[in-house]
Structures are given as structure tokens and as C-alpha cells.
């Protein structure tokens, strides 16, 4: 299947059905079927599972996932179709004629139980010592089917070593049920290609190229595989024990910065449906746990806009006025560490397109251990910076050798939403019940522009709000500052904004159509980069790329499960929270203004800014030694 030059990775037999429709009535028509002796009319060609979902008939699944192509390997979703000798996997069987389906007949129940027993007989590990206790799909099914003894035995010794080589992702293949979700995520959804099934039959193992530790292959740490794994086979590298130690140590000054996406999603870990932002409640919880200061990452998101926006304007000036060939356009955002590593591995020759600005997390680390330490008169050696992020790649990012511009490790730990929720629960706190409280000074309240970083298109929207106003002196011509071309979940979006009647110092931009593109998920990043390689992006100026589908709100550290609907709700929560804030443009954030006047006196992209807030990249290439 091709669409232009893009070849779909979905296996041929799972692509939309092209069964010959025998009569014109069939085209888009309805088929009458019977499920559990009740009659229904369903669209021609949908799978049995989809039909059952339409009518709220429960069919258990394991390898099926809304974001991914069909696998049909676990066989848990088997149902009985009258007239066929074997049971059919409802996730992959298309309905093309009138059939009678039984979703829980005796055959089906017995078979499902057997398959579950088989999976459990190979699954090593006890639930009570697993990070997915109470949120595991295998555990749920075992409960649903009343498993109370090991019919086919149980694994007594682990047969694989746990791969702890990566800063971000820990792989424990003893718990793997070979559902292939991570393979489909990494190869089809993200197009990075780190995990695949090797060997055959009973020896099949989901692993990396030549079974190397994951830190030695081209893993970008996006953690999408973790979000989709039904069991505890994949998890993040959890630093909460060390953080507890720091909190409990009276000598250490532990500060935490919280990002918008975790705040929009952490409610899901406490039983709330997706779409409830608990920002202020979270501040209270963090102080109760013992963090000395709670800061808002949106502050440095605003700072990023100032730095990156200025860098963009500098590039535009160099390209348009000075005709400097060495300056590359379009400029790509660099706040997504998964995307940055992807670029370093797969497109190392285009690293000069990446903005040199650090991500908000890393900027904050540098600012805290210099400016904040000075202002508060604390020895930076005693400061422990923790970053609450929706992201598993941030754990890798804070350990990058170049991230020590403050003279110390800028950010000590990246903590994910799930891990923090665990810490809060350990402290006996029920998050949704807490009263609200504010962020701490001297970084206080940030602008709404920083908040929308969490959704795909948010960085672009925030940048445009400021850049447009800096250049023209006017607010962006969009109702209520909602730049709608930036919003939405389409994989690759593009739009433009005309710069007219600009201020005198930006004369060279008069009449320029500022073209921008937004992409999320590395598969879409690949589409954009391939266009760049072919030279098709000559008149595009700014591109925002997020490594994860949905943007940061779909990051590798966010609550499990994930689905297009959940990500949509989180985006809505972020936009709703933002619309209610008093300040919604980065350059109007008074704390940012204060920082530039008192500390970064040369302004954005000045000497000190470059030292603390900008970084370099490493050409890694995709050759695995």
C-alpha cells in the first residue's frame, strides 16, 4: 500500500479489506448478523471485535491495541462462529456475510481459560513485586476468568537477565507474553525499529538487534513501547528510592519542576477519567511529600520561547539579509529528547537544523543551580533538582555528558508521572482530595504559552504568539489567541502566517510568509525529514517535532493505558487550563523579564544564555557496532 512515497508498514493482510462486493447494495451497506442470539446490523467489512464494541458486548483482548495494526497472535479474543470448525480471532475476522457469533459459549470459555493458563505458565514473576500490580492486563484477565491454580505449572527460575543498561527503559523479558505490541509500536508506529521477535517457536524472544543491551542500539527512549505493554515486561528506570533519600536528608535542598502534561494526566492514576488537570492539587501533594520547592516548568518553557524565538529571528536575518549559506532553515524545535536522539541517529547530517536551545527541563536545571542558588544563598552542591515529566527520554537527557553547564549535573533526576503517583500513594495521600496551592517564588506563575507545550502544536503556537508580536508589535490575528492551525491530532500539519506592517528593526521580514510545520510521532518526523532531504522544505521556516504521538501528553512516562481518545481528552484539559490563565504570552511573563534584567543581562542568545541555556548535539548514526 503506498500513499505518495510513503509505504505503510502494516502487514498486507491487515490492511483495509478489498473483498469484492458482490452487489451494489453491499457497498457501504449493512450486514445482518447474530451475536449471542441477538440480531444486529453492522457495516460490511468490520471485524467481529469492532462489532461487539459497537454494541457494548465484552470480548477480552491482549494483543489488540487501538493505535496499532492487528496481530491476532494471543488468541484470547477467540469467538465461535457457527459453521466453522475452528474458533476465530474476533480482532481480525472481517464480517462479510450473515454469521452467527457466540462470544462466551462453553468452547470459547474453556479455550480462553486454557490460553490464559498457558500464558501464566510461562510468565515469571509475582504480582506483588511488579510495577504493574493492579494495572496489568494479564492480571485482569486472570481475575476475570477466576484463575486460582496453575493448571500447566509455573516458572520457578527466571530464564532471561533483566536489561537495565538504559537510563530510561528497563526490559524484563521473563514477564513478556509475546503479544508483539512493542514490536508493532517500535517498527510500525514510531518507525525506529529497535524491537523485533527473534528466533522461532518456543525460543522466540522479543529483543534488540543481535540481542544487545538496549543502550547499545538505536533506541531513542521515547517509551511508547512501555505505554503499550500489557504486562510489566517493560518499565521505566525508577529513581524514586534515591529521591526519597534526598528528601529525607536534611542537608539536601530538593526542588521539583512539574511539566504540564503530567499534571493533565496524573488524575488517571487516582481513578479519575482522562481530562482532569490537577496542577494546584499536585503542588500541595509535592510539598506534603517533602520537596523543598515546587516550580513550574512552564517558566522555562517561556524562557525556551524567548531563546528559540530569538534564534529563529537570527537565522531568518542571516538567511534573508546576510545570505549566509551556513545558516540552515527550517529550524527544528529541540525540546523533545526522543526526537533529538532520533535526529542524531537517523539524520545526523541535518543536526544543524536543530535549534541549539535546550529543553525547558534542562534550562531549569542550569538556572536553578546558578541563578536560584545565588538568589537564595544555597550551595548548588546541596541542591537536588528533580523534573516531573511525562517523558522517559528525559531520564536519558539529564544524563547527557554535556548537561553540566551549571558546574554540576543540571537536572539530577527525571521522574515520570507514574513514578510520582506511586510516591504520592506511598505517602498515603489521595491527590484529587487535596486543596490547591501555588507554585513557589522566585519563578512563580508562568504563562499559558508555556503550558500548551504539552500538546502537539503547542510549542509552535507559543512561539508564534511571541515572535509575531515581537516582529509586528501586534497580537496574533486569531480569536482569543487560539492559533487553530496548530491544534489537532493530524500527523503532519502545515500552515503559514503573513508578517505585514512590521516594526522598523524587522524590516527585512516585511511581507514574508512565515511557513511552519508540526509533526508528532517519529514516523511523521521521518516523513518531514525525507521531504527535507529531497529539498522540498525550501520555503519552510520553523518546524515543531515531538517524538511521541499526541505530543508530550502521550509520552513514555504517562499513565497506562493510552489510546487516541485518552490523548485527545488530555489535550482538551491542557487547552482548557491554558485559556483560564491571566498571562498567555511568554514574553509577558514577569519572572522571565526579571531573569533577563537581573541575570541574563545580554538578553536571549547572549553570551551567558548561550553557556547555560544552549547545547550541542552528537552525530550518532544508525550503525550498530
Amino acid at each position: 500500500m503506498t500513499d505518495g512515497n510513503y509505504v505503510s508498514r502494516t502487514p498486507v493482510s491487515q490492511q483495509p479489506l478489498k473483498i469484492e462486493q458482490s452487489s451494489p447494495h453491499d457497498i457501504g451497506g449493512l450486514v445482518e448478523i447474530e451475536i449471542n442470539s441477538k440480531k444486529f446490523k453492522v457495516p460490511f467489512g468490520i471485524t467481529i471485535l469492532e462489532a461487539c464494541k459497537l454494541f457494548d458486548i465484552h470480548v477480552p483482548t491482549l494483543c489488540h491495541h487501538e493505535d496499532l495494526c492487528i496481530a491476532g497472535v494471543c488468541r484470547i479474543c477467540s469467538v465461535e462462529v457457527e459453521g466453522m470448525r475452528t474458533l476465530q480471532a474476533s480482532c481480525s475476522f472481517p464480517i462479510t456475510q450473515s454469521i452467527k457469533i457466540h462470544t462466551s459459549s462453553e468452547k470459547v470459555r474453556k479455550s480462553r481459560r486454557h490460553i490464559l493458563d498457558l500464558l501464566l505458565s510461562e510468565h515469571y514473576g509475582e504480582c506483588y513485586s511488579c510495577v504493574r500490580n493492579n494495572n496489568c492486563e494479564l492480571q485482569k484477565l486472570a481475575k476475570e476468568y477466576g484463575v486460582d491454580f496453575y493448571r500447566f505449572g509455573h516458572v520457578k527460575e527466571p530464564y532471561y537477565d533483566i536489561d537495565k543498561s538504559s537510563y530510561s527503559i528497563v526490559r524484563d523479558m521473563n514477564k513478556c507474553i509475546l503479544c508483539r505490541r512493542c514490536v508493532r509500536t517500535c517498527i510500525d508506529l514510531q518507525e525506529v525499529g529497535v524491537l523485533e521477535a527473534l528466533n522461532r517457536g518456543y525460543d522466540t524472544k522479543i529483543t534488540t538487534f543481535l540481542d544487545k543491551p538496549i543502550s547499545e542500539v538505536i533506541c531513542i527512549n521515547c517509551g511508547q513501547c512501555i505505554n503499550r505493554c500489557p504486562t510489566g515486561a517493560l518499565r521505566t528506570n525508577d529513581p524514586s528510592d534515591i529521591i526519597w533519600e534526598a528528601i529525607d536528608n536534611p542537608k539536601k535542598h530538593v526542588v521539583i519542576q512539574t511539566a504540564p502534561s503530567p499534571r493533565a494526566a496524573i488524575g488517571e492514576e487516582f481513578g479519575l477519567p482522562a481530562g482532569n488537570s490537577l496542577t494546584r492539587e499536585l503542588n500541595t501533594a509535592l510539598k506534603m511529600i517533602g520537596f523543598d520547592r515546587v516550580f513550574d516548568t512552564n517558566f522555562t518553557a517561556d524562557l525556551t520561547i524567548m531563546e528559540e524565538g530569538t534564534e529563529l529571528l537570527n537565522r531568518l536575518k542571516a538567511a534573508i539579509v546576510d545570505k549566509d549559506e551556513s545558516v540552515k532553515l527550517p529550524q527544528f524545535t529541540s525540546c523533545s529528547p526522543g526526537w533529538v536522539k532520533y535526529c542524531e541517529h537517523f539524520y545526523p547530517d541535518f543536526l544543524s537544523h536543530l535549534s541549539t536551545a535546550k529543553s525547558p527541563q534542562q534550562m531549569f536545571g542550569a538556572v536553578i543551580k546558578t541563578f536560584y542558588a545565588q538568589e537564595e544563598n544555597i550551595d548548588p552542591a546541596d541542591i537536588v533538582t528533580v523534573a516531573l515529566m511525562p517523558c522517559s527520554a528525559k531520564k536519558f537527557e539529564c544524563n547527557r555528558p554535556e548537561m553540566v553547564d551549571s558546574g554540576f549535573k543540571d537536572v539530577d533526576f527525571g521522574l515520570t508521572t507514574r513514578e510520582l503517583a506511586q510516591m504520592i500513594k506511598e505517602a498515603g495521600i489521595n491527590l484529587p482530595d487535596l486543596p490547591k496551592s501555588n507554585f513557589d517564588e522566585p519563578f512563580g506563575e508562568a504563562s499559558g504559552a508555556g503550558l500548551i507545550f504539552g500538546a502537539t502544536g503547542g510549542v509552535m503556537e507559543a512561539a508564534l504568539r511571541s515572535v509575531y508580536e515581537i516582529v509586528t508589535g501586534r497580537t496574533v490575528p486569531f480569536d482569543n489567541l487560539v492559533i487553530s492551525p496548530c491544534r489537532g491530532m493530524e500527523g503532519v500539519r502545515e500552515a503559514s502566517i503573513k508578517l505585514e506592517n512590521v516594526k522598523d528593526e524587522w524590516k527585512f521580514l516585511e511581507g514574508v510568509e512565515l511557513k511552519f510545520m508540526i509533526a508528532h510521532g517519529t514516523a511523521n518526523a521521518k516523513k518531514v525529514m525525507e521531504k527535507l532531504k529531497k529539498g522540498e522544505l525550501k520555503d519552510v521556516h520553523f518546524v515543531e517535532i515531538m517524538g511521541c504521538p499526541g505530543g508530550c501528553l502521550g509520552g513514555g512516562g504517562q499513565p497506562i493505558p493510552t489510546s487516541p481518545e485518552i490523548r485527545q481528552k488530555r489535550a482538551e484539559a491542557i487547552y482548557k487550563e491554558e485559556a483560564e490563565l491571566p498571562i498567555r504570552k511568554s514574553h509577558e511573563n514577569p519572572h522571565v523579564v526579571y531573569l533577563y534584567s537581573k541575570f541574563l543581562t545580554e538578553g536571549p542568545c547572549g553570551h551567558l544564555s548561550h553557556k547555560l541555556l544552549h547545547t550541542t548535539y552528537t552525530k550518532r548514526g544508525n550503525y550498530i557496532a
Partner: protein, 390 residues
């Protein structure tokens, strides 16, 4: 080695000019003739060939493919080896006729890697047909273009399954696909593909030469035609035989010189094991279907060790995709080992037999659906003897 008894269909004179006759017919008439003849797939599954060809012929697509499944891997089967070496031209003719009937442009022969020594012989036969204008452009002046490409397997029994074969041709792991949609609708690269066994395709020129009525009259009502059987094990004359469907087992045993028989494995490792008490049963799709192999065991053989050999085979050859086959086969093998050590209770054995039933109906492909067969049939038929010994 040629066929050891008097051939019924596979006599060189039967093929005559079936190929030329076929190309003079209209494509749809060939499909109808094949359907009339009652020919069913000779690879083991036994799907009516005419129906398969009809579905592919009526599919509308810019490309179509014919694949000759020469990945003969079933233990005890070597009839295709004989066909490919002794009846090479007939096999190729069958492929070309199929291509003509369904309007395909390319045919593949998927030859198992273990038969690599036949490659030059097959390539020579292909070249010879090309020289005679029976392959390539404008075959015999009928305006019909067809190419045949030889592809090798690399040591995977599961690639004999038609959708796994197509996956292998496409450069993937040989893991069967979800069906439906079937290969005749969505096959190689998404195009309609007919996958047929070597024997099925080799029969076509004979049917077109002597007519479908002639073929119908051989065999039984539900199993028309003849079958090539590879016989091995404790027999005096192992080799390939051709018998009409409906032949009784005891006649077969007499033909091959079997003495002192205890058990017969019909249909290879994934078939059924019958004891010497059931010799009146016959070889046909109604009674004892066979992909073409009979292995005879005499009274000195240990049935449990034979079962172990079969289950080890399946554990190794399973592709590992679906849960029931990947783990189920291992559990059945572990069960056999437990019986051998005297550690398997009757209760657990019952659980395993029930597991076998589940595997038969939930596995994704034929391998998992038929791998419990030897387990269930040997332990049911010879259960008392085995449990008494261990």
C-alpha cells in the same frame, strides 16, 4: 526413484499433449474442467482446487500470482521430491496452465532449502520450456505471457502453510497471516494468489488431456482421483506408490511388504495414528485423510518414543506467533517427558488431552491445529500400553 507400483494418473503417456490442449481452451473452461474433475488439494488440507481457481480467476486485480508449494516438510513425505525430479516438466506445465486459467503473469516455485540439489535440474527444465516457446512471452502464440521464478526456502516447515509461504516470499518471517482474507483474495503483495501443492499442479495436464470424467471415475465419491503415497518405516519396499482413493489400509500394507505391524501413522506427524486393529479403514478425505505419507511401525517399536519424536518436531518447527501452538506444543512435549519418567498422573494427562482439543480450535494455522493429533491419537489408542510400561 520412480513410483513403485503401477501408476494410475502419473504415467508419462497420460500427459500426452494436455498442455497444448489446455492452451487451446478458454481460461474459464480450464477452471470448470478442474472443478468438474473433483480434484482436491494434495498438500494435506484438501481444499477443492477448482473452487480455489474459480475464486482467483474471478477476482479483479492488475496482477495475479501462482505459487507452487514445493516446501514438502511433513515427516515421512517425499512424493514431491519424486515428482520434481521425475515429472519436472509436468509440474511446470501445471503451473503455466494455472497461470493461464486465472490470468496470472508470474509463477513462483517455492522449493524447500533442503532440496537445493534439484535447482539446476529445475532450472534446466524451465530453460527447455522457454526454448520451446512454452514459457515466456506469447506462449505457443496464444498472446499469453508467463514467467516462472524459482525461490528457495531456508529450513522452516511452517513455510509449507500457504500464508506463511507468501510471507516468506515477501521477505518476512514465515509467520502465517490472519485469514480471512484468504490468499486467493489477498495473497502475495496483496494480489490474488493461488498456492497449490506440486502434486495438484502436476495432475492438471493429465486432466486436460484425458478429460475430467476420466479423473472423476478414479477414487471415491468425495475423494476423486488418485494419491501419491510415500511409504517408509518398517516395510520391505519403502518408496512412492500411487493408489486410488478408497484403498484399504490392509491392502496398502500388503503392497509395501509390511510385517508384524503395530501401528501406522497416516498423514505424517500431523496425522492420525491407527493401530493394527483398524486395518479395514481406507485412505480418503472421508475416512483417513493423508497429505501423502504413511509410516509403518512394527511390534518392536516404542510408541511413546515415537510420540516424543513427533512432539519435538512440532516444538522446533512452530513459528511461535500464537499462544496455543507456541506454548501448547511445549506443554505436550513436557507431558510426554513426564510420562517417560513415570511422573505424569492420569488427571494431568486428561488436562493435556483437553489442551490438545483447545489447540485444535484456537491455533492460528494448520500447524498448531494439527500438532495435537499424534498426541491425542497415540495416547488414546495406545494409552493403556504406554501407562503400563511407564
Amino acid at each position: 526413484m520412480p513410483i513403485l507400483n503401477k501408476p494410475i494418473v502419473f504415467a508419462k503417456e497420460n500427459f500426452g499433449d494436455g498442455f497444448e490442449k489446455g492452451l487451446k481452451m478458454k481460461p474459464i473452461d480450464i477452471v470448470l474442467a478442474v472443478r468438474e474433475s473433483g480434484l482436491k488439494g494434495r498438500g494435506g488440507a484438501g481444499f477443492p482446487t477448482g473452487t480455489k481457481w474459480m475464486l482467483a480467476a474471478t477476482a479483479i486485480a492488475e496482477k495475479k500470482f501462482v505459487v507452487c508449494n514445493a516446501d514438502e516438510g511433513e515427516p515421512g513425505t517425499f512424493k514431491d521430491r519424486v515428482l520434481l525430479t521425475e515429472f519436472t516438466e509436468q509440474v511446470l506445465q501445471g503451473i503455466i496452465l494455472c497461470g493461464y486459467a486465472i490470468r496470472a503473469q508470474v509463477g513462483y516455485i517455492y522449493l524447500r532449502g533442503e532440496y537445493e540439489y534439484m535447482v539446476s535440474q529445475i532450472n534446466n527444465a524451465i530453460q527447455k520450456l522457454k526454448n520451446e516457446n512454452k514459457l515466456g512471452k506469447n506462449i505457443l502464440g496464444k498472446g499469453f505471457d508467463f514467467e516462472i521464478e524459482l525461490r528457495l526456502g531456508s529450513g522452516a516447515y511452517v513455510c509449507g502453510e500457504e500464508s506463511a509461504l507468501i510471507e516468506s516470499l515477501e521477505g518476512n518471517r514465515g509467520e502465517p497471516r490472519n485469514r480471512p482474507p484468504y490468499p486467493v483474495n489477498t495473497g502475495f503483495m496483496g494480489y490474488p494468489t493461488v498456492v497449490n501443492n506440486v502434486e495438484t499442479l502436476a495432475t492438471i495436464p493429465a486432466i486436460l488431456n484425458l478429460g475430467s470424467d476420466w479423473y472423476r471415475n478414479i477414487g471415491t465419491d468425495k475423494s476423486r482421483g488418485s494419491k501419491l503415497i510415500s511409504v517408509s518405516g518398517d516395510v520391505e519396499f519403502p518408496g512412492v506408490y500411487e493408489i486410488p482413493f478408497g484403498t484399504k489400509i490392509k491392502d496398502m500394507l500388503e503392497l509395501v511388504g509390511a510385517k508384524d505391524t503395530k501401528a501406522i501413522q497416516i498423514g505424517g506427524a500431523s496425522g492420525t495414528c491407527i493401530s493394527a486393529k483398524e486395518l479395514n479403514r481406507n485412505l480418503s478425505f472421508e475416512d483417513l485423510p493423508t497429505g501423502g505419507s504413511i509410516i509403518v511401525f512394527n511390534n518392536s517399536r516404542n510408541m511413546l518414543k515415537i510420540l516424543k519424536n513427533f512432539m519435538e518436531f512440532f516444538v522446533e518447527e512452530s513459528c511461535g506467533q500464537c499462544t496455543p501452538c507456541r506454548i501448547g506444543n511445549k506443554k505436550l512435549l513436557d507431558g510426554v517427558n513426564m510420562i517417560e519418567k513415570g511422573e505424569c498422573s492420569v488427571a494431568y494427562l486428561k488436562e493435556l488431552l483437553s489442551l490438545g482439543e483447545t489447540m485444535r480450535i484456537t491455533s492460528k494455522c494448520g500447524l498448531g491445529q494439527s500438532s495435537p493429533n499424534p498426541f491425542i491419537s497415540i495416547l488414546t489408542t495406545f494409552g493403556d500400553e504406554i501407562l503400563a510400561t511407564y
